[in-house]
């Protein structure tokens, strides 16, 4: 199956409150690939991730997105999730009163129903989650706490990756999951991603820094700036950006 197109974004144009943010983004992700999207603040990286996940408040003014051969933009957010698309949030919300285990199980069962499977048995669910928590070095006590309630920044990010590990998406969009993490937490997040990496599954990593890419080596790196993909290349581009910043690319684009 490796090599089959999974996501195809063509000339995507998006506005927020009437202001253009994405001005014609093109991106093709094949099965099994890891893509990194880098770029300066305000370039539209998070907007792209949220639009792909179906968040309201964005107006798609042009272009198309195909996912697994379907029109992604025509699907509701929950339909996208059940079709295997996962968004790891830059700022995961706290939901006091809804416990982690309940959400994880409800989400997993939503996926299973979509695939025509029966709901997971309580014992199997617990075994699965505990194993995944071990991978992410998350204290089991957090399972019975409210979703992200009182979690540290690092715990929230690890919890996002835990959800990803449990739900086993086909395409994971991770929006600055590495931001605010110390080096140990960063390695854990990278371990989570690498655990799930397979020829069937793809990742789009939105990141500011090259350091995550030391641990999760991407197939392609894209620079998104001013609402467009200015350059796409192999992992060496991330190192070049680390050395030279973004200005040279912006100048080239302007020229």
């Amino acid at each position: 199956m490796s090599g089959e197109p999974l996501l195809k974004v063509e000339n995507l144009q998006v506005s927020v409150a009437g202001q253009p943010v994405l001005r014609g983004v093109n991106l093709t992700v094949l099965r099994g690939e890891v893509h990194a999207i880098m770029g300066p603040n305000g370039s539209g990286k998070s907007t792209l991730a949220h639009v792909l996940a179906g968040r309201s408040g964005y107006q798609v003014t042009g272009g198309s997105v195909r996912y697994l051969g379907r029109d992604l933009l025509a699907l509701a957010p929950e339909e996208r999730a059940r079709a295997g698309l996962f968004l790891g949030f830059q700022y995961p919300v706290e939901i006091p009163g809804v416990n982690n285990a309940y959400l994880l199980k409800a989400a997993l069962n939503a996926m299973r129903r979509e695939r025509g499977q029966s709901e997971i048995d309580a014992f199997d669910f617990l075994s699965l989650v505990k194993a995944r928590m071990q991978t992410m070095q998350i204290d089991e006590a957090l399972l019975s706490r409210g979703v992200n309630e009182g979690f540290s920044g690092g715990e929230k990010k690890r919890n996002e990756i835990l959800q990803m590990l449990v739900l086993e998406p086909i395409l994971a969009l991770l929006d600055e999951t590495d931001s605010g993490l110390d080096i140990d937490a960063l390695k854990l997040v990278a371990r989570g991603i690498n655990t799930l990496r397979s020829p069937e599954r793809s990742f789009v990593l939105v990141t500011h820094y090259q350091r995550l890419l030391d641990h999760v080596v991407p197939d392609q790196v894209h620079v998104l700036a001013r609402g467009r993909v200015l350059r796409s290349a192999g992992p060496e581009l991330a190192h070049e950006l680390e050395r030279r910043g973004y200005d040279w690319l912006l100048e080239q684009a302007a020229a």
């Binding site: 179906g54 929950e78 919300v93 939901i95 416990n99």
Partner: protein, 411 residues
């Protein structure tokens, strides 16, 4: 005819068949002096006072046979049942160890503030209050069931001896005629180091009118923890006056009001910090849907002598549609500068960020909304630490609101 005049007219007519009692005359005089609350009274701003005008009959309802199914009795709790405010059985025989029935005093209750003025109606029309004294430790459930037509005036006075412990469940149930009035007055006096956990569940039929007064006084180191849940009645109003008279006494108020279909549910909690090192916390969660109105007025007064007082308020409202209202008023008046205080009040619709988070995990919108609503209400329900009671209350909420997920799976 003005409502007040109608009340006196009905009182005179009703009184003809009853022996004269000093307390009723005293209540009548005080009511005439204070008058009924009006829309311009700040303390009654969000109450539906029009419902008072529409009360069918202020004279007490006749005793009625028991009709509705009662909630399952909770293990370890002695149950006292009142139908239309009349005891359904011999009270003394039903009391648990540690609780005794005191003879009616024949005295009237002097109101401590205009907030309590509707408590004059039970004095005017009702039987004498049931007076219970608690020594030691006890668990008691009191059910007030309203039936048929006419008004019901439950009146309860609880005295807790020093160091006494009481878990008290107080429920108001019943399917009343439209405009049927239920007007309770519950008083508690906690002796030093006494502790009360009070669970008040109002789940009346949706045609009733409920004006409720709660008066609580706490002596030194006494602790009063209350969880009040208001679900039923077309109009529901609680006027609570709590006085932290003894040093280091503490109040912990958890309130939940869920109103739908033009219900008006309003609660005013006045708490006076009179002594030093007193603590009061108030958590309120109000949910309004389909043109309902919910109000909560948390009025905390810290007196000049109440050095070291601590006050916390967390009031939140959830609106299900644009035609509904939640009015929250955190108020704090401080006459000393040695206190710690914090308060917050927010009202809004379901948070779109939270909703999107759940949708992005594959939950359908109806489930996600129900989950968020349940979590919102769950913050107040967490104070109900009696598991079977909590299940009953959750079931009542599900019946009332329909789309909740109040499973044990929630925190």
């Amino acid at each position: 005819m003005q409502t007040l005049e109608r009340i006196f007219s009905e009182y005179r007519h009703w009184q003809d068949g009853h022996p004269p009692e000093t307390r009723r005359h005293a209540a009548a005089e005080q009511l005439r002096e204070l008058g009924l609350p009006g829309v311009r009274d700040e303390q009654w701003r969000y109450a539906n006072l029009r419902a008072l005008e529409q009360v069918q009959d202020f004279a007490p309802a006749a005793p009625a046979p028991l009709a509705p199914a009662l909630p399952e009795q909770l293990p370890g709790f002695a149950r006292l049942l009142f139908i239309n405010a009349q005891p359904a059985a011999d009270l003394a025989a039903a009391l648990p160890t540690g609780v005794s029935l005191l003879p009616a005093s024949g005295q009237w209750y002097t109101l401590l503030g205009a907030d309590e003025r509707l408590a004059l109606l039970p004095q005017l029309f009702g039987a004498e209050a049931t007076v219970l004294r608690v020594d030691g430790s006890a668990q008691l459930e009191i059910l007030y069931v309203a039936q048929g037509s006419g008004a019901s005036y439950p009146a309860l006075h609880l005295e807790l001896a020093a160091g006494a412990r009481l878990k008290l469940i107080e429920r108001h149930l019943g399917a009343h005629e439209p405009g049927g009035l239920i007007c309770p007055h519950v008083r508690l006096a906690l002796g030093s180091a006494a502790e009360v956990q009070h669970y008040r569940i109002q789940n009346l039929g949706l045609r009733s009118v409920f004006y409720d007064t709660l008066s609580v006084q706490l002596a030194e180191s006494a602790r009063y923890r209350i969880c009040q849940v208001a679900l039923g009645a077309a109009t529901a109003r609680t006027s609570a006056a709590l006085r932290l008279l003894g040093g280091a006494s503490a109040l912990d108020w958890h309130g939940l009001s869920a109103a739908r279909d033009q219900q008006v549910s309003d609660c005013r909690v006045r708490c006076d910090h009179v002594a030093q090192e007193t603590v009061s916390t108030a958590l309120f969660r109000g949910l309004a849907s389909t043109r309902a109105r919910v109000g909560f007025d948390g009025d905390v007064q810290v007196n000049a002598n109440a050095h070291g007082a601590k006050v916390r308020q967390s009031l939140r409202g959830l609106l299900e549609d644009s035609g509904s209202e939640v009015n929250l008023r955190p108020r704090l008046t401080i006459h000393t500068d040695q206190i710690e205080a914090s308060h917050g009040a927010t009202t809004g619709q379901i948070d779109e960020q939270l909703l999107f988070y759940l949708l992005s995990r594959g939950l359908d919108p109806a489930t996600a909304r129900a989950l968020l609503k349940s979590a919102f209400l769950g913050e107040a329900l967490a104070a109900i630490d009696i598991a079977p009671l909590r299940r009953q209350v959750e079931q009542g909420l599900v019946t009332h609101l329909g789309d909740l997920i109040l499973a044990a799976a929630l925190t």
